[in-house]
């Protein structure tokens, strides 16, 4: 889904003339001594599906609650369409929220829940039933309109919460861990539904999640947060392929990290010395690095090839023994112990049956990868 969005060339953040829908300007939020959000600047554009990703306690929920109006920034401003929304109370903001617990009103039916916000808007009374029906159709819950929240399943409750938050056609919809309460299978299916509804309604979505897979699936851009700061804000593919720090590389997906020093550079190509008596590793770096800089070489396991013989034309090749094998069905991960003691993971797709697998424990193998497969990080 996100690929289609990118394919259409939806990238307002690259256009310097585009006005952001939301702008954070040096926003800090403190709770007593604790700094939940630390001098944060970010722009979110109309039509985006923006994901805030980070471990619990990183400040992502606080950031969202500031957008909804439940918390006020200690310093800095939040602009919505160019207007400071600091003094606007939550009930006067064109921002709606879908709560992690769904927060459905237990004493009201599904339809009454959806109509709740409309009754408190300036929509004429006669138009409310039509809008409620439209929302019920959008989330495919027409036949459950008269049920109470405890009479429907978890997945249906999630859709009611979404419909209720969307009913007032907010400029911005906030989703706090919207799929956290669903089981894995339902969650994956619902992710696509969310993206569908977002595209249909054209609403700007900001989603908070700690599930990186979910963020990658739904978002146009992902913001990785830690300790109240944004570490990297980028499209999912760039977050994965071009992390700007060890933190991001390690947080998203699986990664091998090898520490070393920059030996020489040539454009984007960087050579790293990482262990006595071992050949230099060749990787690439987005930013120019001085020789001698302390750095980490990061490479995804699926970009490391494993073979019995040294591949003749490989730029990088290191030998080791198989220490452990994790068989995951579709793929296998080999943990290879290098002569230096490092453990490097290599992943292969299991296109053959297990009995005909090439390698087993303690086999001597070669690991190889291209010069652009791994990147060099200093942060």
């Amino acid at each position: 889904m996100q690929q289609t969005a990118n394919g259409c060339g939806f990238a307002p953040w690259q256009d310097p003339n585009e006005e952001p829908l939301i702008r954070f300007e040096g926003v800090t939020k403190k709770f007593g001594e604790f700094t939940a959000v630390d001098r944060l600047d970010v722009d979110i554009f109309k039509g985006e599906f923006f994901a805030l990703l980070g471990p619990s306690g990183c400040g992502k929920t606080t950031l969202m609650r500031m957008l909804a109006g439940f918390e006020k920034p200690t310093e800095g401003r939040i602009l919505l369409d160019g207007r400071d929304i600091g003094p606007v109370p939550p009930n006067k903001r064109a921002v709606n929220m879908m709560f992690q617990s769904y927060a459905l009103f237990p004493h009201l039916s599904v339809a009454e829940n959806i109509a709740f916000g409309l009754k408190r808007s300036d929509m004429p009374k006669t138009e409310i039933p039509g809008r409620v029906d439209e929302m019920l159709g959008l989330v495919q819950l027409r036949e459950f309109a008269g049920r109470k929240p405890h009479q429907i399943s978890g997945g249906q409750r999630q859709r009611v919460a979404l419909a209720r938050a969307l009913a007032k056609a907010p400029k911005l919809l906030l989703l706090d861990e919207p799929l956290g309460a669903l089981d894995k299978k339902l969650r994956q299916q619902t992710q696509f539904e969310l993206v569908d509804i977002q595209e249909k309604t054209g609403t700007t979505f900001v989603i908070v999640t700690h599930d990186q897979e979910e963020a990658m699936t739904v978002a146009t851009r992902v913001a990785v947060m830690d300790h109240g700061r944004l570490i990297q804000v980028d499209t999912p593919d760039r977050i994965y392929e071009m992390p700007n720090s060890v933190y991001v590389a390690d947080f998203i997906g699986d990664v091998n990290l090898i520490e070393g020093n920059v030996a020489s550079t040539e454009g984007e190509r960087v050579e790293i010395s990482w262990a006595e008596g071992q050949p230099l590793i060749v990787g690439s770096s987005a930013s120019p690095l001085a020789a001698g800089t302390r750095c980490s070489f990061a490479i995804r396991p699926e970009k490391v090839a494993i073979s019995a013989e040294r591949p003749p034309d490989a730029v990088n090749a290191i030998s080791g023994n198989i220490h452990d094998i994790a068989y995951l069905g579709n793929i296998s991960t080999y943990h290879v112990r290098l002569d230096t003691g490092h453990i490097v993971k290599a992943q292969t797709a299991n296109s053959r049956r297990i009995g005909r697998r090439d390698f087993t424990w303690e086999d001597a193998v070669w690991l190889s990868f291209t010069d652009t497969a791994g990147i060099v990080l200093t942060g």
Partner: protein
């Protein structure tokens, strides 16, 4: 799993016998024909008719009912407000004092509460009567209401109120259309508790009432100090019957509601 051994059966049998035999005897002897409460002289309902003709008791019952209705309603309003302030009020000047004043009446001996309120009413020159008893009962039962309501408020998902604000409610509108309907069962049980406490109270009412407005417990107390009487047995039986019917109905209704909700949840999960 859990074992229902002879020990448990004996403990339960003896325990509930101890709890209920006195009450059963009381009820049986209210139908005794004899004036002597301890000697059985055949079945009779005459004490109930005597009771119906006893103006003093009827008046006292009426006073008690008025006091209980007024004080439990006032206590429910004040206690719900106090609970909301305690759970949702955030920080304010004197919060510790406030929560102390909420909890203290629960453990305060009634003689002290009664004495202190009487001295207040005398100090401000308030004439004692139904009104002063209502004030006194409201004060001590609002604390019970506030404990019942605040325990419900504390377990209640705060984001439901936030959702109401988010969807355009003012804080007052959110309280009226979302919070209140959800905590209603706790508010109702708080009211019932306040009502029963007021009906039951002897000590505080004795201190704070005037000579013209005797409540039922005061009347009962002054008459049983002189000894056991079959009329009091009859009165007690009526009160016990009312409470028993009330409690059993309430527990059946709530049990049904819980069962229905559970069944619906199971059905919802299955779809």
């Amino acid at each position: 799993m859990r074992r229902l051994t002879w020990f448990n059966v004996t403990a339960l049998t003896l325990g509930f016998a101890f709890l209920y035999i006195p009450i059963v005897i009381l009820v049986i002897y209210s139908f005794n024909a004899s004036k002597l409460v301890t000697v059985w002289a055949g079945f009779s309902t005459k004490w109930y008719f005597e009771l119906m003709r006893n103006e003093a008791f009827l008046n006292a019952a009426w006073v008690t009912l008025k006091v209980a209705l007024a004080s439990s309603t006032a206590a429910t309003v004040l206690g719900t407000m106090a609970a909301y302030v305690m759970v949702r009020g955030g920080r304010f000047f004197g919060r510790t004092l406030f929560s102390g004043m909420i909890y203290a009446p629960l453990v305060m001996p009634e003689v002290i509460t009664g004495l202190s309120l009487l001295l207040l009413f005398i100090a401000v020159g308030l004439e004692r009567g139904v009104f002063t008893v209502v004030l006194a009962h409201t004060t001590f039962s609002m604390c019970f209401v506030s404990i019942v309501v605040s325990s419900r408020l504390a377990t209640f998902d705060r984001s439901i109120e936030e959702a109401a604000l988010d969807l355009g409610c003012t804080p007052f509108d959110a309280f009226r259309s979302v919070t209140l309907p959800i905590i209603a069962p706790a508010v109702i049980s708080g009211w019932l508790l306040a009502f029963t406490l007021s009906l039951d109270d002897l000590v505080i009412a004795s201190f704070t009432t005037g000579p013209a407005s005797t409540t039922l417990p005061i009347r009962i107390f002054s008459s049983i100090r002189l000894g056991v009487s079959p009329e009091i047995n009859a009165l007690s039986t009526i009160l016990i019957a009312l409470v028993t019917i009330g409690v059993i109905t309430a527990s059946l209704v709530s049990k049904r509601a819980i069962m229905r909700q559970r069944a619906e949840e199971q059905r919802a999960a299955a779809t």
